[in-house]
C-alpha cells in the first residue's frame, strides 16, 4: 500500500495504490495526516490504483471528510473500481462523498 499527496491546480490530491486493509491502515492514516490541514483547498482522493478497501480504510476516508467539512471544504473521490464502489454502497458512504 502506497500513498502520495500532491497539490494539483489548487487542490490536494491523495493518490492511493494497493490494498488498503487493516494492516496497511496504520501507515496510511499517518500518510494522509497532511490532508487535515487543507487550508482552503479542496481534496481529491485518487482511487484509480486502489485495489481493495476494508472498514479500516473507510474510517480513514471518513476522518478526512470530517476534517474537510469542519473547514468547509469539499472532498472528491475519483476512479473507484466496482468492488470498492460496492463497499461504499453497502456502507452508505456513497451518500457522503462527491464523485468525479
Amino acid at each position: 500500500m502506497n500513498t502520495t499527496i500532491n497539490e494539483v491546480n489548487g487542490e490536494l490530491v491523495a493518490v492511493f495504490s494497493g490494498r488498503l486493509d487493516t494492516a496497511a491502515a496504520v501507515q496510511t492514516e499517518r500518510d494522509v495526516q497532511p490532508l487535515s490541514n487543507c487550508d482552503g483547498k479542496d481534496i481529491v482522493l485518487d482511487c484509480r490504483a486502489l485495489e481493495y478497501i476494508s472498514s479500516s480504510g473507510l474510517r480513514i476516508f471518513l476522518s478526512v471528510l470530517k476534517a474537510a467539512k469542519a473547514k468547509d471544504r469539499q472532498v472528491f473521490i475519483t476512479g473507484m473500481n466496482d468492488d470498492i464502489r460496492n463497499v461504499f454502497a453497502m456502507t452508505g458512504f456513497t451518500n457522503l462523498f462527491q464523485f468525479r
Partner: protein, 728 residues
C-alpha cells in the same frame, strides 16, 4: 614438517653436536699429548744434563780419592823399598801413611816366600781399630795365605801399581775394600814384596751419599764388579736389575762392554736410562748414573694424569652443556611443532566451523518464496559469529548471533549455540521460547561467563509474518524497496543469552510484504574500524542500504561489503563480520484449510493470502473472493481488536470448509466472551458529520455473507460465516 625431515634434522643435530664434542676431545687430547711430549723432552734434557754433571762430579771426587791413595802409596813405596829389611821402619812408614790418609783403612807389606828367613808368611799390617787407633801386626799365616789371593798374584803379575776389585779383607782391614797395590823391589830391582793399601768401600760410599732421589750411581771396576753405589741404588736399581734380568742380555752386555772398555755413552735398558763414562786415571773403573723412568717421570706423569682428569672433566662439562643446549633446541623444536600443530588444528577447526553454517547459495533453489544470502568473515581462523537458517513446516527459522570474545573460546560457544538453535527449534515454534531454552541450557553450563547476543526469527512463508525474539543483538533492518531508507525492526530489550537462567524472553512480530528484505548483521559491520580508528557506524550502513538499487540479498550484501572494505582500507579486521539477508518474494500458496493467526493486525495480509488460496482452490469467482476477503478481514479484525487485552498475544484459528457451493469459515479464539452479532447495525443515513467513525465492520460482514453465527464453547468464541458462491 614431516617425520622424515624431522628425523634428518634431529640426526643432523645429534651429529653436529657429536662432531663438536669429538673435535673438542681431539683438540684437548692433542694439546695434552703435545704438552706431555714437550715436558717429557724438557725433563729428558734436564735428566741428561744432570746425569752428565753427576758423572763429572762423581768422577772428580773418585779421582781425588784415588789419586790421593795412589800418590801416598807411591811416596811411601820409595821409603819402604829402602827399609825392606827393617820391619819396625816398615810399620812406622805404614803408620805415617795411615795417619795422613783417612781414605786408607789399612795397609800391609806382604813379602815373598823366603825373603825373610824363618817364617813362610810375612805380611806387616797396620790398620785402625774400632776407635780409630792404629794397630800393627803380622797377619800372614796358613789361614791368610796371601800368596793365593788375587791382589798379591795380580800385582806380581802386573809388576806395577794396580787397583784391585773389591774384596772382603778378612785378615787386615776386616771390611770390604778396594786396594791399591804396588810391587816393592830390592836394590837389584827384583820384586820381593807387595805393598797393599786398602781403601774402604765405606769411605768411597761417602761420595755417593749426596744423591738425588731420582737417580742412582754405581761404580764398576775394570773387571765388571760394582765397587760402590748410592744408598738407594738397590731400591732404584731393583728396577734396573729387574730390567737387566728381563732385558735381553745383549743390551746389558753391550753396556757392560762399553763401560769396561772405558767408553762414554748412554743406553736405555727397559724402563731406565743409564749414563756412563770412565773414571779418569789408571783405575780402569767406570761410573754409571741410572735414572728409573718411573721415578724421573713420576711427577710429570702425575701432572699429566691430573691434567687429563681435568680435561676429561672439562669435556664432560662441555658435553653436558651441549646436551642441555641440544635439549633446549629440542624444546624449541617441540614448541614450534606445537605451534604448527595448533595452526593446523585451527585451520581444520575453521573448516569445521564454516561447515556448520549454511554456505550453499541459493539455499532453496526450488522455492520461490524466499531468496537468501549469508556471509561470515572471521577476524581470526575461527570466530564467534554465527548465522543459521532452515525451513520447517513452511516456516523459515533463522538466527544470527555474536559470541562475546573472539578466537577458539568464542568458536566453541558459537558451535554450542548453533547446535542448541537447531535442536531446540525442531520442536518449538515460538522464537521467545526457543531463545529461553537456549538461554537456560547455556546459562547452566556457562563456566567462563561468555554470552551471546542472539536474534532468532521465524518467518511464516504462508503469511509473511515474522515472529522474532532478540537477546541483545543489534536490530535487523527491514528493507522495503530499492533506494529506500531501511527500517530497524522494533525490539524489546532482552538480555544476551547465557547470562541468567530463567529469563523470560519476549517476542514481537511484524508482517513482511513480498519484496521486503530482512537484513541481519553483527556489530563487526558497524564497528569495523578504519586506520584512523573511526567506526563504520549505523549511519553509514543506513545510507549504504538506501543507496542500493538491487536489494536481492546477494547484491545487497556485496554492496555493503564493498562499502565496508572501501571504508576500512588497509586496517586489520578487528572483529568477525557477518551478514544475512532474507528476501521475501511471495506468499506460499496455502494448501490446507486452516490458518493460524495472532491478534496482530499485521497478520491480516496472511488472512487475505489464505482466502485467495482457498477461493482459487475451489474455483470461486473474483467478485465473491473479494467479498469473502472483506468479510473475513472485518470479522477477524474484530476479534483481534476485542478478544484479547492489550499486550497479550492471543491465538486465532481460521478454518474453511466448502460443501455444495457453500463456503463456511469458522473463526476461533480463546479471548474474552464477545458476540459481534449482537451489535446493532449503524445508521447509514446520517450525514458525514454525525456518522461515528467505527461500527462498520460487522455491518459489512452481514452485508457480504449469507449468514453469521456466534457460539461460546469451551472458553472459546466461535464465529461461523457462510456464503453460497457460483462455481466458475
Amino acid at each position: 614438517m614431516t617425520r622424515k625431515v624431522k628425523n634428518i634434522w634431529q640426526g643432523l643435530q645429534r651429529r653436529s653436536s657429536l662432531a663438536i664434542l669429538i673435535t673438542a676431545a681431539v683438540l684437548i687430547e692433542t694439546t695434552s699429548v703435545v704438552q706431555y711430549l714437550f715436558a717429557y723432552r724438557g725433563t729428558k734434557q734436564v735428566v741428561e744434563q744432570y746425569a752428565m754433571s753427576e758423572l763429572k762430579t762423581k768422577n772428580m771426587e773418585i779421582q781425588r780419592e784415588v789419586r790421593s791413595v795412589e800418590e801416598a802409596v807411591s811416596y811411601v813405596t820409595y821409603a819402604l823399598e829402602r827399609n825392606l829389611n827393617n820391619p819396625e821402619a816398615i810399620y812406622t812408614l805404614e803408620r805415617a801413611l795411615l795417619e795422613r790418609n783417612h781414605a786408607i783403612s789399612g795397609c800391609a807389606v806382604a813379602f815373598k816366600e823366603g825373603y825373610i828367613k824363618g817364617d813362610r808368611w810375612n805380611e806387616l799390617f797396620v790398620g785402625r781399630d774400632e776407635g780409630g787407633a792404629l794397630v800393627q801386626r803380622q797377619i800372614g799365616d796358613e789361614n791368610h795365605n796371601y800368596f793365593e789371593l788375587d791382589w798379591y798374584k795380580e800385582t806380581i803379575e802386573a809388576d806395577c801399581g794396580h787397583w784391585t776389585d773389591p774384596y772382603i779383607d778378612n785378615a787386615g782391614s776386616k771390611a770390604e775394600v778396594c786396594s791399591y797395590t804396588m810391587p816393592l823391589r830390592d836394590k837389584d830391582g827384583d820384586v820381593v814384596a807387595v805393598f797393599c793399601a786398602d781403601m774402604s768401600l765405606d769411605w768411597l760410599m761417602e761420595i755417593f751419599k749426596t744423591q738425588s732421589e731420582a737417580s742412582s750411581t754405581f761404580l764398576l771396576s775394570s773387571t765388571g764388579v760394582i765397587i760402590a753405589m748410592t744408598n738407594n741404588v738397590f731400591e732404584n736399581i731393583e728396577a734396573v736389575q729387574d730390567a737387566v734380568s728381563n732385558a735381553n742380555d745383549s743390551m746389558i752386555d753391550k753396556v757392560t762392554r762399553a763401560m769396561l772398555s772405558g767408553d762414554t755413552g748412554r743406553a736405555k735398558i727397559n724402563k731406565s736410562q743409564v749414563f756412563y763414562g770412565p773414571v779418569e786415571g789408571g783405575t780402569g773403573w767406570s761410573l754409571a748414573v741410572v735414572f728409573a723412568d718411573d721415578v724421573v717421570y713420576d711427577r710429570l706423569n702425575k701432572l699429566s694424569i691430573n691434567l687429563a682428569i681435568f680435561m676429561l672433566l672439562g669435556l664432560g662439562l662441555l658435553a653436558f652443556i651441549m646436551f642441555r643446549t641440544v635439549r633446549g633446541f629440542r624444546k624449541l623444536q617441540v614448541v614450534n611443532a606445537e605451534k604448527e600443530r595448533i595452526g593446523n588444528e585451527l585451520a581444520i577447526a575453521s573448516g569445521i566451523q564454516k561447515g556448520m553454517l549454511p554456505c550453499t547459495f541459493p539455499p532453496y533453489p526450488d522455492r520461490d518464496e524466499i531468496t537468501m544470502y549469508g556471509s561470515l568473515v572471521p577476524a581470526k581462523e575461527v570466530g564467534g559469529d554465527l548465522y543459521d537458517f532452515y525451513i520447517r513446516d513452511e516456516k523459515l527459522f533463522f538466527c544470527i548471533g555474536d559470541v562475546s570474545g573472539k578466537g577458539v573460546p568464542a568458536s566453541l560457544v558459537m558451535a554450542v549455540t548453533r547446535s542448541l538453535f537447531r535442536t531446540v527449534s525442531t520442536h518449538i515454534d515460538k522464537p521467545e521460547l526457543i531463545m529461553k531454552q537456549i538461554n537456560d541450557a547455556m546459562s547452566e553450563m556457562n563456566e567462563s561467563s561468555m554470552f551471546v547476543t542472539l536474534f532468532i526469527g521465524m518467518l511464516d512463508l504462508h503469511s509473511g509474518i515474522l515472529s522474532y525474539s532478540n537477546a541483545g543483538h543489534c536490530p535487523p533492518y527491514l528493507v522495503t524497496a530499492p533506494n529506500c531508507d531501511p527500517i530497524p525492526l522494533e525490539m524489546d530489550a532482552n538480555i544476551p543469552v547465557g547470562l541468567m537462567k530463567d529469563w523470560s524472553y519476549t517476542a514481537q512480530s511484524t508482517a513482511i510484504r513480498p519484496g521486503n528484505v530482512v537484513f541481519l548483521y553483527t556489530d563487526g559491520l558497524t564497528e569495523a574500524e578504519n586506520t584512523s580508528h573511526e567506526l563504520y557506524g549505523e549511519e553509514r550502513l543506513r545510507k549504504c542500504i538506501a543507496g542500493c538499487a538491487d536489494i536481492t540479498p546477494h547484491a545487497l550484501i556485496a554492496h555493503i561489503t564493498d562499502s565496508v572494505h572501501a571504508f576500512v582500507g588497509d586496517a586489520e579486521q578487528s572483529d568477525d563480520l557477518t551478514m544475512l539477508g532474507v528476501l521475501f518474494n511471495k506468499y506460499l500458496t496455502i494448501s490446507g484449510n486452516t490458518l493460524h493467526l495472532n491478534n496482530n493486525v499485521q497478520h491480516v495480509p496472511h488472512l487475505a493470502n489464505f482466502i485467495d488460496s482457498v477461493a482459487e482452490a475451489n474455483g470461486i469467482d473474483p467478485a465473491t473472493t473479494m467479498s469473502l476477503n472483506l468479510a473475513m478481514e472485518e470479522a477477524v479484525v474484530n476479534v483481534i481488536k476485542y478478544a484479547y487485552p492489550d499486550g497479550v498475544i492471543g491465538d486465532i484459528d481460521v478454518t474453511a470448509t466448502v460443501e455444495d457451493g457453500t463456503i463456511t469459515f469458522t473463526i476461533e479464539d480463546s479471548g474474552v466472551a464477545f458476540d459481534p452479532t449482537a451489535k446493532a447495525d449503524p445508521d447509514l443515513t446520517l450525514a458525514a458529520e454525525d456518522r461515528p467513525i467505527g461500527g462498520l465492520g460487522i455491518h459489512l460482514v452481514r452485508q457480504l455473507m449469507d449468514s453469521i453465527g456466534y457460539e461460546r464453547r469451551s472458553d472459546k468464541n466461535i464465529l461461523t460465516l457462510t456464503k453460497k458462491y457460483n462455481q466458475q
